[in-house]
Amino acid sequence: MDGYYAFMLVATAFVLMMTVPALALFYGGMSRSKSVLNMMMMSYVAAAIVGILYVAVGWSMGFGGDGTFFANPFELLWLDGVSTGDYIFVMFQMTFAIITAALISGAVADRMKFSAWVLFVPLWAVIVYFPMAHMVFSCTDDSLICGRIGAQDYAGGTAVHINAGVAALVLVLLLGKRIGWPREQMRPHNLTLTMLGAGLLWMGWYGFNVGSIVFGDDPETQFPLETGRTFATTTLATMAAILGWLAVERLIHKKATSLGAASGIVAGLVAITPATGAVNLSGAVAIGAIAGAVCAWAVGLKYKLGYDDSLDVVGVHLVGGIIGTVLIGVFSTSEGAGGVDGLIYGGGFGSLGDQALGVVVAVIYSGLLTAVIALAIKYTIGLRLDEEDEVNGIDLVAHGESAYDLHSGTSGGSSSVLAAATAPAPTKTEGASA
């Protein structure tokens, strides 16, 4: 199994790359130029906070033993008793926890206090994600979604995408709309960043999906058979989702857009995540195409229903996650990882019911507990930026930076003489040390 071990080292680094920088770029390009740094910082700081917490209690809560909702947080506290030979599996699961928390940030663009995010992330990881990872990925007999319900979720349709999507919805409902939304223009400020981020997400997703293999009795045979399947289904679903999204856009809005292609990539990857081991090639194309088309429509729901899910975490991750998780019940084959035939292969409605129940449990658990956390923050330190700060831009207010210096040193624009007017004044520390 040396090959498997080496593969996991690479897969883990790939999944970390999905958050820093891929997700940060994907979201950053879609946000406004006055808040792009904050948007990217929400991912970077989530990586730091959740990563350390995962080693402290996350692994133990997820994989430290039995439990319906979570395992004993103190059993493997700070990896006590875990061999360094198993650390890579801890690191792999850590990167999943990181990206799940970071995914939520797209919904709260421009207006969530940075301090509130820094408090929300660790609470959400411990109370919502770590238990959800146990329910889904630690398939002991009594773990709720995998063990008791028996819903299939290969790489995290429920634990990652539905979980993050529901949390995003709850947060935006408690945060409220951005000032001026949807009347004011809030178009993406740099779609080249978004295209780059989407491409890196796609690449990183091979670590995410293919790396999620769980071995049975005959690993040597299973490894190539199953990784070949998951690599191929991940690829085809993504391609189909690009086409599905673009087709719907072209039909409804007359243009096939680059943001549509980037979004289609993510929608397809999200939907195939739970199903990647369960379906064959045609099933993957079907799930991808359906997810691309439905998500292209679902991102418009926020205008009809009036919630400001700024970068469409709900429309892509919640909707895409539900599609992929439920459609396992339709398209899975008994040759796949779960060994279950779906509806169209004569497996009846049993699997479909299990999948739907898994979705419902994930939605309720994540929704309720995210609401508790968000309300606690709202009535203590507050969730939302001051109105004036929101208008001025969170980059400047929270981080003291602006992403772009568009005016100094450009030919034909303002001269360097004008730019010098913005040169830093001597700081107080210089004066104090003199």
Binding site: Q185, H253, K254, G300
Partner: protein
């Protein structure tokens, strides 16, 4: 003397500059500006949300010329910048009292 100000389509700017240079205009001030006229901007679509982009990028040219050259310069700009489609821009002429060359202190016609 007259100040000729023209707001034109950005892709016509090189043609206009060349034509003016051939005519003998020695210098000009150029800026990238945005605005709108009767054509009103355009529409962009992001994830299905349509945005009316009100402001259109334009180039603004400012030239100070002799009274006698004013009509020719306006004629050259109009002829060169014209595409015949909506959004071609505007040219206007205003009187100028005094011009001074900063380097030498020369005034008016000799400062042009």
């Amino acid at each position: 003397m007259k100040l000729v100000t023209a707001v034109i389509k950005p892709h016509k700017w090189e043609d206009v500059r060349e034509a003016l240079e051939t005519f003998g205009v020695a210098g000009m001030t150029v800026s990238e500006v945005s605005g709108y006229g009767r054509q009103k901007g355009h529409t962009e679509v992001y994830r299905g949300a349509e945005y009316d982009i009100a402001l259109v990028p334009k180039i603004r040219i400012e030239i100070v010329v002799d009274d006698a050259d004013s009509d020719d310069v306006v004629g050259i700009i109009v002829k060169t910048a014209q595409t015949g489609r909506i959004g071609d821009g505007k040219v206007w002429v205003s009187p100028v009292d005094t011009v001074v060359r900063v380097r030498t202190g020369e005034q008016d016609a000799s400062a042009l």
